[in-house]
Symmetry: C2
Amino acid sequence: MSRTLKLVLAYDGSAYVGWQRQTSGQSIQGLIEDALSRIDGAPVVVAGAGRTDAGVHALGQVASARVATTLDQPTLKRALNAILPPDVRVVSVEDAADQFHARYSASVKTYEYWIWQGDVLPPFLRASCWQIPRQLDVAAMDVAARLLEGRHDFGAFQSAGGHVKTSVRTIWLARVGVGTVRSARVASPFESAPEDDNGHPVVVRIEADGFLRHMVRAVVGTLVEVGDHRRDADTIAALLDRADRGEAGPTAPPHGLVLVRVRYGPAVAPDAGSR
Amino acid sequence: MSRTLKLVLAYDGSAYVGWQRQTSGQSIQGLIEDALSRIDGAPVVVAGAGRTDAGVHALGQVASARVATTLDQPTLKRALNAILPPDVRVVSVEDAADQFHARYSASVKTYEYWIWQGDVLPPFLRASCWQIPRQLDVAAMDVAARLLEGRHDFGAFQSAGGHVKTSVRTIWLARVGVGTVRSARVASPFESAPEDDNGHPVVVRIEADGFLRHMVRAVVGTLVEVGDHRRDADTIAALLDRADRGEAGPTAPPHGLVLVRVRYGPAVAPDAGSR
């Protein structure tokens, strides 16, 4: 008897070579496979919904695996978290249908990219935010982001080496907004601290049926040009038309990128209507 | 010509032996002194408002120093942040009166202690929260905390080795509350992530004219006993009466403790009236 598990994972990717096993260096996939293999007493192969790059984080990565263990879900969650290091956590464990595959079954993935706009990056955000000391025009960035929504060829935002058949994807939602100032750390129910005056997070959120290699980071590099008034929002249409990587902005660094959530089931715009 | 600087500092204390210079290991004080000495071209001595222990953090530590440099405040702030590592940041630089001393001039210091109540500690909070997987009675903890307010002998909450003349201090405010769930990381202006279901922060906040050695951590260890219903809130009065360290709870670990703010000027209850 074997069963298929669906694991939701959160991790700080700073110390890892990324999701996928590499010939050298520690991967998240390797950690999860090793932990499940220890519990199962036999090799376990794990599939991940998003192949996050080195330094990229997750709040809601999803992994699937066929296992033989008969441990119940809470016990499995506890056992995995006892084996895994504190920068990789199992948020939930569920049993899934036999044919469930974390990547192939996924319908919508949500990434956020966190920018710290300010001259002092709070120490506890240093691993998860790209610091931009300049004032960004967040409203213009949001206008540009919304122009990406829909079914388009996103070749202008794809790094070489992706090995995909088509660069057409559907972005269900692309938005840019300002995070709350207190969010720099545990938000106290009491008054704020002095560091709060030194900036605020700007959050880029993209929900799509799939992502090309470095796509979110190339989009963010392009949106920051808009936020800096070095590019007009209406150049986005031409980027989508010509699908030329050389015309879009640079690739933003990996450490601001977070895989927030993966959805399964029919791919309908999840909550765009409510915003 | 020399001048007195007032620096506000934020740091992740994980990698350090604490504020104070030690015979071995890197201290925050040592880092700031070395950075200012490099700018000044001569040894600079720095005083800190709170002598945070190894692993303890700060959002608003205050340091004072006499320096000779004629650089303006924004330039000094930029230069210091360029020299210091990213886990120690200068939040602000001001000129102060010649007699200003970060510790002796301080009237009120505010500490917070961050507890993560839940079975999964989010990876980005692992360095700054004490994880307690059990359900805590936060309301009972708040009742107990408020009984600490006022001028008392806090000997029951003092570790040996403090070398102080008296263990009488005035706590202006002591409260326990639940932090917001989204605060686990950058708070997105969009919907929340799966990790949010796995717990929430409980924040203990204490404002006092001064603190004894390990005082906040001993208070937190005691309040957690109340939150666990292993101690009644009304035992606080007896603890204050007898000032016996053996009767209070254990000392909570250092990594949940944060020096949030230091106030100067007349020591009147800063904002207790508004709560």
